[in-house]
């Protein structure tokens, strides 16, 4: 990906990421300050008299970077939760994996574990 995609795609993806964020917060995403800011920024830079607007490219690059940030954080967190978040299994759970149960020894084991 040596070049950015169209600004519309970036905006759509950004809004989708913001919807994920607001789903966790429990509030509608249109209330979020980030949504308002993005909408104003994209609207303000849409109409320009110059054919090759450097400011437009700068804004688009910033939006694409923010999109990359939101998306990577979400994916990274998902991977972390799946693979690296749980601790060790207890001995009972480990035995239960193969259908065994730990022995009950009412008198104690007789030695320190």
């Amino acid at each position: 990906m040596a070049s950015l995609r169209s600004p519309l795609r970036t905006l759509q993806s950004l809004l989708r990421e913001l919807r994920y964020v607001s789903a966790q917060a429990g509030r509608p995403y249109r209330d979020m300050a980030a949504y308002q800011h993005l909408r104003e920024a994209f609207r303000a830079h849409r109409i320009t008299s110059e054919k090759l607007c450097r400011a437009q490219h700068e804004l688009h690059f910033q939006a694409a970077t923010y999109l990359c940030l939101l998306r990577s954080v979400r994916e990274h967190l998902a991977l972390h939760q799946e693979y690296h978040a749980k601790g060790e299994r207890s001995t009972e759970e480990a035995a239960g994996l193969v259908g065994l149960k730990l022995p009950q020894q009412p008198g104690g084991k007789g030695w320190d574990p």
Binding site: A2, S49, E58, Q62, C68, S72, H76
Partner: protein
């Protein structure tokens, strides 16, 4: 292999995730003597606020968590110079669900580093640390075999070096020896004076990106908006990508590292851009 070796040489203390309040009381579960110990991850702080909002103070923009002002780990008031940055930080805090995972809040971490400056580096030391990376820049270190990797490095990294040489009017070159390329002093001076033109906030962001990507040239490509973040990360991890294509992808290691690197690089780049820009909107009247 090279990149992981370099990680050993240039071990910087990793950016510890900062938290504004005391660190979570937790740790591996304490056990009574005589019972088996199993590892459980440390308990995280619960999300204690409902609303996150921004307000403007004298020093800049501040973040409010439910009427309480956010503070840095050293208890200074958290102020940022740019409104867009404040909004992004507020979004980070807002996206925490149930528990506060400070390792996902990269922009907050960067702001805390700038405000507290725990390693107490001034601008010159920061620039010197950044330019020092040029001597061991990833894109300048080439292997001699396997042939596929040599070809890949030539096709992907040579254009970046050419772009940097043309853009900054310097000589860099690449090398296959373990000592690395010989960077002339004029090149280092050019980069030093270029980096000196950024303010302290932006410079911290730039230096962070350089540390993450292990390459000054790729970071300059990002700062100058020449390549997007995904491409820069891919170029930085070129050898790993080659080995993944050869031997297969391991999701819990490769993808995990990839997304973490992308998140940190994107955060650093965004931080540098937001802190160094000043935008004005000129309204032109339509003449019929």
């Amino acid at each position: 292999m090279w990149r992981s070796c370099r990680r050993l040489f240039y071990a910087r203390p990793p950016q510890t995730p900062w938290l504004c309040l005391t660190p979570p009381v937790g740790g591996p579960s304490l056990s009574l003597p005589g019972t088996a110990r199993t590892y459980t991850p440390p308990t995280e702080r619960k999300r204690f606020y409902q609303n996150v909002s921004i307000s403007q103070g004298e020093g800049g923009f501040e973040i409010n968590l439910d009427n309480r002002k956010l503070k840095t780990p050293q208890a200074k008031l958290f102020t940022v110079p740019s409104e867009a940055l404040a909004i992004a930080v507020a979004t980070e805090w807002d996206s925490q669900q149930d528990t506060i995972k400070s390792y996902t809040m990269h922009l907050t971490t960067l702001c805390n580093t700038v405000l507290d400056n725990p390693s107490q580096r001034n601008k010159d030391q920061l620039i010197r640390a950044a330019v020092k990376f040029l001597e061991t820049d990833t894109v300048c270190y080439r292997v001699e075999e396997p042939a596929g990797l040599v070809e890949l490095q030539k096709n992907e990294w040579d254009p970046m070096i050419e772009w940097a040489e043309k853009r900054y009017n310097v000589e860099i070159g690449s090398s296959t020896s373990i000592m690395g390329p010989n960077i002339p002093a004029r090149t280092k001076d050019t980069f030093t004076s270029h980096l000196a033109s950024y303010n302290m906030w932006a410079l911290q962001g730039i230096e962070y990106v350089i540390t993450q990507l292990k390459s000054l040239i790729l970071s300059m490509g990002l700062i100058d908006r020449h390549i997007p973040v995904e491409k820069a990360v891919q170029l930085s991890r070129l050898e790993e990508e080659y080995q993944i294509q050869r031997w297969g992808n391991v999701e819990w290691a490769h993808d995990y590292d990839l997304y973490e690197l992308r998140a940190r690089t994107a955060a650093g780049t965004l931080f540098a851009h937001l802190c160094s820009e000043s935008s004005t909107v000129k309204h032109k009247l339509l003449q019929d």
